[in-house]
């Protein structure tokens, strides 16, 4: 029989406060199999671990039960202690007498009795534990990044610079995301395009980055280190190798549609290049609006194209790539103005959202960077900014703070004032959240130097009268109703997960919160990892954040991926399902039950098999197996029954 040592932790008073550890030690000393028992104030401390290590030698132990906190906290700590003494780490069991006992009870006698039973079950399980070694699997040292905004670009460059190959997939014809639309960035007011385009060019030139623009991830199969991704590249209809970007095609194109890049405030043709610095720098035909798919209707661009680069018959191309890890950086969309009834549902041309105003401010925007309002081109002399439009409104809109709006609004007001010196900006706010580095100084400077007027309160309604937008609000600091006859209104719309990412995220079965943002493995300690092994998160897909935070997170995700790829192979937990070939009838119920595709039927032997590397040890197949042929390593039916028996003696 195994010689088992039981170590009971006081956890300060966390356990000892409710459980009589001395009595417990006494009671269990005589339990069959227990060769040694001891209690100590902090088992996880170095002296505590030393106690375990020394006792293993002294009492020739070959198994250890630590009765302490949840195994999610210190199981590895104690497993490592066993490793050091050359005892297999699977000869350790944790009896959770804190979360599941001392914390939830207050009757000392009853809690002690319960702890006694919990420890006995752990001893019973340990008696039949096998010594196991981790399963190793190969590791593909390539990374997929979904989304070519600043998050995806930063992560791609970091990993590529680390020497590993990156597959970067962007659904739009060009990378750049929302950041390339911005005019200037807070708090330093450097030009967004000036700091963004060098990174975009670097992506294009990097020998380790393979860019799939105008493409979508269809599916990802496999497991960490060994994924296969299917990518669909939508046809661009313009051969990038032949196209000389001469722009003879757009003047002849008869179709005019609102430009996405300018947020609908300017026009583009059905054959277009999204913006001058697009990467890849190629024209694209927009399938939805082009008339050329009916050759009788129109072939104007093709006729005008001297190098003959246009081919209307192009079909989507499909690629399969092998990768070892995935970074999801699918970004955000603004919460739609169309949801804001009291702000006019987006029907007033002079009520803009934040991104539209960025385009007005931008030198490459519809007004060439000059301040003109969309309806009649007039220079707005009075302008109202409304913060928290759609954010922090759990009853009607987004419940959360979108984090960037306070700062982008003050930036907007400042840039407006730089362009219209005699103009008056007003800002309605709930709170001003300027928590970043140099953010508060930026706000203070804007208020004192640029004469921006803040009203603490919400705007109840906006309506149009003559050529003015009438803004009805309240200043809650003076309790006065405010009515401003503004020339233009800018709504600091909140941000939400990217609309088109929803499909890919649900295809990948990634967990999202109630607002659709990706969930990190731990909110503080594992902020860039997903709970699904091999998936990492970056940027606003995980939650609202500004550019500095997005770039930090992208680099953090890249570091995590680089750490993974620095291994020669990946190791996988040996706690997997096994099949007793004698008992298996090959009914296949386990194959349809397995959520990881780890179960298959052996056509020759007519029995079910387990792919160790895919198996996550969830136990689903074991519970459905009608003949008990499926067993889980170190959690066999016999072990479970022995554990249950402890309670049946009650």
């Amino acid at each position: 029989m195994k010689r088992i040592g039981v170590f009971i932790c006081h956890c300060g008073i966390n356990i000892k406060g409710t459980i009589d550890v001395e009595k417990l030690t006494e009671e269990l000393a005589e339990y069959p199999g227990v060769a040694y028992i001891e209690n100590y104030i902090f088992m996880c401390s170095e002296p505590g671990q030393k106690l375990i290590r020394d006792t293993i030698v002294e009492h020739k132990l070959d198994g250890v039960v630590v009765a302490a906190c949840s195994p999610t906290l210190h199981e590895t700590t104690f497993q490592d202690a066993l490793d050091e003494m050359n005892i297999n780490r699977h000869q350790l069991e944790i009896a959770n007498i804190r979360e599941q006992c001392s914390w939830v009870h207050d009757d000392i006698e009853e809690a002690t009795r319960k702890a006694n039973l919990i420890i006995k079950t752990a001893v019973e399980k340990l008696k039949l534990n096998e010594s196991l070694i981790p399963i190793s699997a190969p590791l593909t040292k390539r990374v997929l990044i979904i989304g070519g905004g600043i998050a995806g670009i930063q992560a791609a460059l970091d990993i590529a610079d680390g020497g590993y190959e990156v597959i970067l997939v962007e659904k739009e014809p060009s990378i750049g995301g929302h950041m390339i639309q911005l005019s200037e960035t807070f708090p330093t007011l450097d030009c967004s395009q000036c700091i963004m385009t060098p990174k975009m060019v670097a992506v294009n030139k990097h020998k380790n980055i393979k860019l799939f623009a105008n493409s979508e991830v269809e599916s990802i199969e496999g497991f960490v280190g060994n994924f296969k991704v299917n990518i669909k590249r939508k046809p661009q209809y313009v051969d990038p190798d032949k196209c000389t970007i001469c722009d003879d095609c757009t003047p002849v194109c008869p179709v005019v549609v609102p430009s996405e890049y300018d947020e609908g405030m300017s026009w583009r043709k059905a054959i277009y290049i999204p913006f001058p610095q697009s990467i890849p720098a190629t024209f694209t035909i927009d399938t939805e609006n082009c008339l050329g798919f009916n050759p009788i209707a129109c072939t104007k661009c093709s006729d005008a194209c001297e190098p003959d680069a246009i081919d209307y018959d192009k079909k989507p191309e499909y690629f399969e790539e092998e990768i070892g890890a995935v970074i999801v950086a699918t970004g955000f969309d603004l919460y739609p103005v169309e949801n804001m009834a009291e702000y006019g549902y987006g029907k007033y041309p002079d009520v803009l959202d934040g991104l539209q105003f960025e385009r007005i401010l931008s030198a490459t925007g519809p007004t060439g960077g000059e301040m003109h309002r969309p309806s009649d081109g007039k220079v707005p002399k009075e302008i109202v900014f409304i913060q928290c439009s759609g954010s922090r409104d759990p009853e009607r809109h987004l419940p959360y703070c979108s984090r960037i709006c306070c700062m982008y609004t003050i930036k907007h007001a400042k840039l407006y004032k730089h362009k219209v010196h005699d103009g008056q900006p007003y800002i309605f706010y709930i709170d001003i959240r300027s928590g970043g580095k140099r953010y508060e100084e930026f706000v203070q400077q804007a208020v004192s130097e640029d004469g921006i007027v803040y009203f603490r309160g919400k705007v109840a309604r906006i309506y149009k009268e003559a050529d003015k937008m009438i803004v009805h609000g309240i200043d809650t600091l003076t309790s006065k109703k405010i009515e401003i006859k503004a020339d233009m209104v800018v709504l600091a719309m909140g941000i939400k997960p990217n609309n088109s990412a929803e499909k890919v995220i649900s295809n990948l079965k990634l967990n999202t919160d109630e607002n659709g943002f990706l969930i990190e493995a731990h909110p503080k300690l594992r902020p860039v990892e997903s709970l699904q092994s091999g998936f990492y998160l970056a940027g606003t897909a995980q939650g609202p954040k500004d550019i500095p935070d997005t770039v930090s997170q992208a680099s953090a995700a890249a570091a995590k991926v680089l750490a993974l790829l620095s291994n020669d192979e990946i190791s996988h937990s040996p706690i997997v399902a096994i099949v007793n070939e004698e008992l298996c009838s090959g009914c296949g119920i386990c194959v349809s039950t397995c959520p990881y595709g780890a179960r298959e039927l052996d056509e020759i032997k007519k029995i079910a098999t387990v792919n160790d590397v895919l198996c996550e040890g969830c136990g689903a197949c074991i519970s459905v197996c009608p003949s008990s042929a499926a067993q889980q390593k170190n959690l066999t039916d016999e072990q479970i029954l022995n554990m249950v028996k402890i309670y049946s003696y009650l």
């Binding site: 009834a341 009291e342 549902y345 309604r461 309506y463 009268e465 009438i470």
Partner: protein, 292 residues
Amino acid sequence: MNLPYYPGCTLKANAENFEDSAIKVMEILGYQLNEMKDWVCCGTVFSMTTDDLMLQLASIRNLLRAEEQNLNELVVLCSMCYNTLQRAKKFITEDEEHLNKVNDLMYKENILYEGTVDIVHLLTVLKDRITFDKIKEKVKKPLSSLKIGGYYGCLLVRPKEFAIDDFEDPSIIEDLFSSLGAESIAFPYRLECCGAYQTITKKDVTIKRTYEIINSARRAGCEALVTSCPLCAFNLDQRQKETAEEFIEFETMPVFYFTELMSVALGGGWDKSWSKMHYVDPRPILKEKRLI
């Protein structure tokens, strides 16, 4: 078809023209508004200013009477009564303790109040049961070229649980009048408060509100307003007298109950007794548009 109907006090006094025209209109549309028996005042402002159970009693007693009379709903015309009854019902029925207490207070009643009676505004009946398309078919005298502003005030759309339409951007009155052939104008101040009971103690507040609301409507192009609230009607119509005295440039505008104009459009005509219930004489505009 019969509809159980709760009138409320004002419809028997200052707003007789509202009740009169509503009954007439509903008859044209094939419905009979059957006044419930033994009703009392809805409780109005008192039940809205405090959550004290005692003050919900008037409303609840009306609903209890309706339960006794085996009615499963009450159609209400007055926005204030509609709102008061809805709020009292919610307050009492959403909390078992409130329900038990209110039943204890009414220990002399024969049955216990259960909360089975629905409260429905006439506009909802017109929109959902009769439908505006059907009403359009019955129009005899389209209100062509009459520019109407629908005035909702507070009570039809707030709190949002009882809103008869989208509480931020309603269109039920506009849609009704479009189906009657009028030109509906959603003017900016249509959801603003008229000043309500301030009209008694702080008349100047309501005068200011009336001035702003009527002017907002005029700037938006309205020639007349319609409402479903006798108190709004009082403030917006009767108070135009003082408003005109206070602001020299102020121009008056007729204010109708929506049912009065429906009667004109559906062939029920204009009852000359209604004219004297208005401060701003509505006849000139009706004559101008050849509606009377």
